[in-house]
Structure formats: C-alpha cells, structure tokens
Amino acid sequence: MIQVIYDGTFEGWLTAVFEIYEYKFEDVVFAKNEASATLLFSTHHHVMTDEEKANRVLSGIKKRLSAGGFSDFYKAFFSDLDEIEQIMFQFTKYALASPKNIEGDFSNSAVWDLRKATRLTRREAHRMEAFVRFKLTKDKLYYAIVEPDCNVLPVIENHFKKRYADQRWLIYDAKRKYGIYYDLENVSTIELQFNANSNSSKFLAEICDEQEEFYQNLWRCFFKSVNIESRKNMKLHMQHMPKRYWKNLTEKIPQI
C-alpha cells in the first residue's frame, strides 16, 4: 500500500493522480500534508503540485465529461469527506477507462459515491447562500461568520459577487480559519483571526454601524411575526434549519 501525500489543493490532487498513473502505483491511499499515523508501515510518496501535470489530468477528465458533469466533479472535491480523494480517484479511473460518458451510470458505485459527495457540497453551498447573515460595520463592510460542514466558500463566491456587487463584504469560515473578501472589484481569499465572541453586545456596539442592531431586531421581529402558531411544527423547522447553524443566525439568537 502506498500513501500518496499531497498539499490538499485540487491542483495537488490532480498532480497526485498524474503520478499514480506515471509510476503505476497500485493500492493507494491519499493523505493531506502529513502522513497519517495509522499507516506508519506503508510506503510514502510525496507529491509536489505541478501545474503541467495537473492540467493534463484536468483536460483528460474534462474531455470525458459534460460541462455540468465536470462542475459536479469539481464541487465534490470541496465536500470535505474523509475519503473524498479516493472517491474522486475511483470515478476518474472509471471515466478515463470508459469509451463513453459515464455520468449517468448510477448503479455503478464510483459514479454514485461521487454524486453523493457532490450533493453534500451543493446542499451545504445552498444553505450558506441562505444562512449567511451580514452585519454592517462602522466602515461599511458587510461581514458574516459561517461554519459550514463542507468547504464551500470557493463554491459560493460567484453567487455573492454577483448579488452584492455594490457593497464590500467578507464571509469568514470560522471552522477553516479563512474568508473571502470582496473589495467592489474582485474577490480574494484572506486569512485572519476573528473574535470568537462576535455576537456579544459590547463587541457589536464597538464595531458595528449604528443602525445594525436596529435591523437585527427588525429581522427578529419579522421572523416571529410571520410564524403561524396554530401550525407549529418544530420537527420540520429543525429539519430545515438544523441546530448547528443557529449560533450564526440572527433570528435564532435572542435579542440582546
């Protein structure tokens, strides 16, 4: 068994796939950055991300998939599943080996597992498009903190860029400790430390625009008022808005 260690990026993974074919490795496991401790006795292979190698694999995959199929494939990478590299590798092997497009072969587990991963990312991306709650700071930056299950910031970037074209915004992934920032022209990735206690009233008063608290309270008031008590259905409520998201959802945080 050979442990293939890459840098955790999509390009890195593509390079790894190239080298697996190049060196005819069989029975591989992937690891990000450091070798996994549980596999001390296996052989290691370190992959240096290489643009040329990555592009060759990329164009090979693209040739065998539809545009939509490739976009799904790419999204799967951000699912953050433990075994995602393996799932994508199985799919890639099948796609490259088959003379025709295999996207619809749903009874094949390589295709099905990839689809499941894609759906995971897609659902989480859609949730973040819904659950991001911007707060306005004194210097007119709209910022939001999220903690998504999947690494979806790269996937939702364009959505927010198009929609909020005329305001500066920052969406920060507190789980993965990085954010995306839009400066009215471009979106860039930034790393920073965010105050963990960012929902406290003192913190809000210090950094936020004077209207911010008022709008948050208006939103809470609206959210409460549109509920129909005689139709109460908490199970459905929780199903659509799982509890783990509540700490970043203004309407689920009691008024200060």
Partner: protein, 419 residues
Amino acid sequence: MVHERVMEKLAILADAAKYDVSCSSSGSKRENKDKGLGDAKGYGICHAYTEDGRCVSLLKILLTNHCIFDCAYCVSRKSNDIKRAAFTVQEVVDLTIGFYRRNYIEGLFLSSGIFDNPDYTMERLVRIAKKLRLEENFNGYIHLKAIPGASDELMKQAGIYADRLSVNVEMPTEQSLKLLAPDKNHIDVIKPMEYLKNEIVGHKEEKKLNYKAPIFAPAGQSTQMVIGATKESDLEILGMADYFYEKMNMKRVYYSGYVPISYDSRLPAIGTPVPIIRENRLYQADWLVRFYGFKVNEIVGLNQPNLDLDIDPKLGWALRNLNQFPVDVNTADLELIKRIPGIGYLSAKKIVAARQFKKLFPDDLKKLGIAYTRAKYFLAFATPFQLQRDLTSIQIKDQILNLQKSKYKNDFSNQLALF
C-alpha cells in the same frame, strides 16, 4: 426611521400578511445590472424557516391592513377589532434594502388591504416597486399583489417593475365567495388575471422578436385558494386549479389551509385544527398534474370527489389501476416509470439514465434512492414480484401503511387501542 413605531408596524403588517402562503422567489430572469444591488436570476432561496416549518424567502408584508372590505375569512376585514397600521413608501423601501443587503431575504412580497379605492392602493404598491428598481437599482425579487379593479395602466406598470404578480381568488367557488365576501364577485378577480395573462404572453412574444423589449412579470402570475373554510370538494378545488393552469397560464396555484381567525358562524370555529393533511394532499395532486403527466380526472372524479387522507394521491391512483402494473423499469417509458409509487420525478430520470449501462435489479434501485418498500408492489422483477403477485389493492395498502411511520398515523388507525 422612527425606531419603535416602525418595529410595531412591522409586527402588525407582517402578521397580517402571513396567511398569504406564496413565498416563491424562483423563476425570474432579472440579472444584476450596472453593478447594482441584487440578482433574481434562477433558483429561489429560503433564507429561514419559521417554527411552523414554512419557508421565509421574501419580506412579506402588507402596505396597510386598513381595508374597506369585510370578507369573513380575512383577518384584516373591516369589522375585525384589531390594531391598524400603514407603512410609508420610504419605510418599505428602507426595510427591503436593509434586509436584502444583510442577506436576510430574496426580495419583497408586497400586498395590501384596500384603502380608499383600488387605483389609490395599486398606485402605492407600484410606486414602491418603481422606487426600488429605479432609485435603488434593486435587482432582487419583487412580488406584488394586483389589486382587482385597478386601472390597466397601473397593472402594466406593476408588471414592468415586479417579477411576479398575483390576484388571489381565495374562495374556490362563486357560492362560497358570495357567502363570505358578499361585496365581491369571481369575475372581479378573473378579469385582472386575464389581463395579466395577455400581457405576459404578449411581452414574451415581443421579447422573442426583439431582445431589448422590456420584461413583464418574468416569474409569471400565481393565485391562492383557501381550503377548508367552506364546503368545496377536492374535485372542485383541483378543477378550479386546472382552469387556472390551463386558461390563465398560472405559474402556481397555492392552497392555504384555513386557520380559524373568527367567531363568525359561517366559518369553522376558532380552535378547529388547520387542515394540514388535506392541504398537503392537494399539493401532491397539484404536483402530479404539473410534473407527472396526470390529468385531474385520474386523481379525483365524481365517484370519488375527495383525495384519500391516509395515502398520497399517486399511490391512490396506482391502487385503483392495478391493471397497469407491474411495470418493468428496464424497458418502460419514462412517463410510466414516473407513475410508480415510491419513484419520484428525479429517480425516474436516474433510472432511465442508469439502465443504458446495465440491466437494473432491486439492489440497484435501492442504491438509486427510490422508496423500494413502496415501489416493490408495482415492479416487474422476477423474484420479488412473484411474491406480491396476488395481493389485492387493500392488502397492498395495509402493508404500505404498516411500513410507514407517519406522524399522522394515529389519526387514521381504524384499530381500537387495547391499552
């Protein structure tokens, strides 16, 4: 904004608007332009869900709950002793923009009680939409109520600035309307629907010829019927809905289970449960007609004017038509596969795609995520079907009902509880 007053108005006017069930924000084609604010292209987004499990997609409010009408089913009726309020045009604009910029909403759904006269009311609604579009360069979603009786010119303007327009028919039949809203006639709501249909179709045609032609209500029109306030059968309700889809080009017909809000003796008393299951069955039937190729008369008929409450309408249809089964998913047409209970629209498509690669067996179907325990009674697979072959409709129904853990199960159990 004067803070406390605006907060109070929002509480009153959101509360009054919540019985309008439409929350859709999809189907428009409005893109962000000139680096303005917002984008209403493509799919809808539900930004939150209230404790009743309903989606919050739009800032859904009334401009005012002052109303000259006295419709018994409406919480804002003239004779009801409630707090009244009215937003100014600027307040609605500020709320919409403030909420949208914080990613709370997809846009605005603005309705209103009728104060003074229809034109006066409609003019205010249009003015808000116009201000959002032209002064704020807002490209988010706007749904406006079309006020029956408003002038064609105002309707036209509304269509230019809004993504969707709706006129609520509220009562499924003229008789019920006469009973509960004696000042109103069905024709009053049919006329503006017809006008909107013609404008929507006309603008679409024009757009084909000239891409620069203005868009008119790109997300179409919708309407709503209140269910369970009056005596109509599901046959009448679905028949009416079918008329709206066929003749009025409606994008959606919404069914709103009546929430008792009045001691009026013409209506179900306060405390009567909301007919949530019936409402759900109507939506399922609506979906069957719109996406599954069913005709209304296959789902309900004169001999069976109401939908079953204990099973969904597709299963109901299948049990009445066992002669159409079993279906072999490896050879059958997509249209027929869609009719198998336990196989949804997307699963049917997946099956048709997957069977090109290999013959599908029960294990493959399970992997594809279909509800196999339901579907198996209707599938032509060699082995398991042998076992099911001689079951009657009633036996199949009992077996399926035993399998599913419906939260409504207690309401339907015809067995006596022993303990």
